[in-house]
Amino acid sequence: MRKKIRIFQPKLSWLAIPFALIFIAYFVVPLILTLIVSFWDYTEYSIIPDFIFGNYVYIFQGCFSFEDGLCLTFKTYISTFFFCFFTWLITLLLGFSVAYFLAFYVNSLPLQITLFLICTIPFWTSNVIRMVSWIPLLGRNGLVNETLISFGLIQEPMEWLLYSSFSVVLALVHLYTLFMIVPIFNSMLRIDKEVIEAAYDSGANQFQIITNVIIPLCKPGIIIGSIFVITVVMGDFLTIGIMGGQQLASIGKIINTEMNYLQLPGAAANSVILLLITIFIIIVMTKFIDIRKEL
């Protein structure tokens, strides 16, 4: 079948060096530094090399006694998971549908490419602009409320449209659906059309083809898209801040506030925990599929 390429030929592995260097300089080193700093002590104006667990203890202070309800850290993670789950679910459904349409209902390649490029048009502007432009639409005196009131559908403006969980999820879905479309579309294009024809000839209906043939073969795309969306949303504080009226908690915002107040070791400890949780989620997801094998 496929010709086997041995990656670890000495000469070929030289090709990996440029990327390895970039990876070490911009990812591994900062990560190690963050890990080190998370064990340091700090004052208002300086950070002190040390090896203490105080920053981690501080994060989970009062978390296991449940005296005053949930602690800050648990509450914040629950809120972050909430946004993460709904954004993931909706972008997955939307992304899958769009990719499915592009891959199986559009037959000519030029048209496929054209339509795919149209999907990227929103990305020609910055994501802050794409986000902020929802505000005049959803506000108390915004376009949606004014229109519904003028049609007599509602009497009072709907306040929950803006600065709410709804507006946050809406903006996140708007921003990140393309991250789902691209890898799923890519997976779908690699599906051999004959496989689908065979399923059809064997008597499978449309729905059975999707669940038994297309979804299993798209799994790598779905997982990659999910990793993109989940990692981005887990660390987000800008969208949750702006669209949530700064009133909804996110772990990114807490790290941001700590950085602003020069509590860098505290911020580093929070980042390490966020990283561990995100990695855990990804490990669980990749349990469903061996990405390396599928690629």
């Binding site: 208002e44 104006y45 300086s46 800050l72 509450k75 914040t76 809120s79 505000i135 005049p136 506000g139 108390r140 005196n141 915004g142 306040e159 803006l162 600065y163 801040g241 702006i242 009226g245 700064q246 009133q247 909804l248 908690a249 915002k253 807490i254 506030t257 700590e258 950085m259 602003n260 107040y261 020069l262 509590q263």
Partner: protein, 435 residues
């Protein structure tokens, strides 16, 4: 900056009397600028033009300031404009990335112990003796005592030596910051949407404004506004709002958490422009606000008042400091720049934006009698009052919100502060946001 140009052009075609007044001002500015240039000329002419890297929030700095500076002194500045918190961070972590920093007094308890900023030699500041007594003595020019809760400038004005890491208790030759700009902050309201008089900080949590109030999500400033509200509600009287105990922080945050859970707040804001949008769109009718934001809302044709309240104002102040890495010719240029800054033209420019300048007599020379009366003396305007960019801020007969300099600065109840329990406060604030 095209905005500035167009408004200026508009102004020129609209208002001939203003243009003549401005010409007069320019003439006056020209002559005194010449005098200043003569005083400091040698260092400028003998060397290549120096560009100072100016780190600050630059809230008040337009292109005109740079242009005027170059005309008068031959110096150039390159603004590194960042947020207040970012200024502090830069001073502590990259003190060699700028030549001059414009920072707030409440950051000093963090900056001074680091040793990254030097005391400014007041003997080299020409107008030092004319710096308003609010900074040097904690009283207004007419002798009225100013509230000193929080990090009041007069408490952190001096260092023991030029490289001191501690604040001096007495007057010394070395100042921590040379004051540049300050103001008294209060709540902003939309009178047209509220329809009744507002006169207390307690109104921020009045259930009448449920879902239509806002405050800022900058813990160190937000907590001060919260304390003003709690005190106005009669819940508690703080010995020092600017330095709360853990119990006091708990109490303050509990009251705000309850209000937040009950849906009192439409939003919190972190960026100046967010507060403008919240107010202009009518999402919010009462909120913590900064004075240029009020001007911005007004310039959109919306009624907006910087409401004086009976409990007083929360004040803030900023000034110039020299990082320890600035030496020699660059340091001389910094002193020259600071002297130019205090010599009046910039002072008038700041006063016209609704801030206050540190040296009042020099600024007065650059303002018309009507402007001085409106901005500083609380008098009714005789003609249109214009901003430095030419936008109309008030018409004849109108008075400034809060009245005169004496009334406003004399009514200060507390200053922006860094608390001893800062870490605890930030955590409690985050808890409130997460609730």
């Amino acid at each position: 900056m095209s905005l500035i140009k167009t408004t200026e052009e508009k102004m020129k075609s609209k208002n001939l009397s203003t243009i003549s007044r401005r010409k007069m001002l320019k003439l006056g500015a020209g002559t005194s600028a010449a005098a200043i240039t003569a005083l400091y000329a040698p260092s400028v002419i003998s060397s290549d033009p120096i560009t100072l890297r100016y780190l600050g929030t630059a809230v008040s700095m337009g292109d005109e300031v740079q242009k005027k500076l170059f005309e008068d002194t031959g110096l150039k500045v390159k603004f590194i404009a960042v947020t207040t918190d970012e200024v502090t961070k830069r001073v502590l972590t990259q003190p060699n990335s700028f030549d001059l920093v414009d920072t707030e007094y409440f950051s000093l308890p963090k900056l001074v112990p680091s040793g990254n900023i030097l005391g400014m030699d007041t003997k080299r500041i020409k107008e030092w003796d004319n710096v308003t007594s609010i900074f040097t003595k904690g009283v207004t020019p007419s002798g009225k005592k100013v509230g000193l809760q929080g990090t009041a400038p007069s408490k952190v004005m001096y260092l023991e030596g030029s490289t001191g890491k501690k604040f001096a208790n007495d007057v010394t030759q070395y100042a921590t910051l040379i004051p540049t700009i300050y103001n008294a902050d209060t709540l902003g309201i939309r009178p047209d949407l509220i329809g009744r008089p507002i006169n207390s900080w307690a109104e921020l949590l009045n259930p009448e404004f449920k879902g239509k109030a806002a405050t800022l999500n900058i813990p160190s400033i937000g907590i001060m506004d919260a304390a003003m509200v709690v005190e106005a509600m009669g819940e508690y009287t703080y010995p020092d709002k600017g330095n709360m105990t853990k119990d006091e922080i708990d109490l303050t945050m509990k009251i705000f958490t309850e209000a937040k859970k009950a849906g009192q707040f439409r939003a919190f804001w972190t960026d100046f422009n967010e507060s403008v949008n919240l107010m202009a769109s009518g999402e919010v009718v009462i909120q913590s606000m900064w004075s240029p934001a009020i001007t911005a809302v007004k310039s959109q044709g919306k009624d907006c008042v910087y409401q004086p309240l009976k409990e007083g104002y929360r004040a803030w102040a900023a000034g110039f400091a020299l990082p320890k890495t600035t030496k020699g010719k660059t340091a001389d240029a910094v002193y020259e720049f600071v002297n130019w800054y205090l010599s009046g033209w910039v002072g008038a420019y700041l006063n016209r934006q609704g801030y206050y300048s540190a040296v009042l007599p020099t600024a007065k020379q650059y303002m018309s009698e009507d402007e001085w009366g409106f901005w500083m003396e609380g008098k009714a305007a005789k003609g249109d009052i214009l901003s430095p960019t030419g936008a109309k801020l008030a018409s004849a007969g109108e008075k400034r919100d809060g009245g005169s300099y004496e009334d406003r600065m004399g009514g200060v109840a507390c200053w922006n502060a860094t608390m001893d329990e800062n870490k605890y406060m930030v955590r409690k604030w985050n808890e409130m946001v997460a609730s």
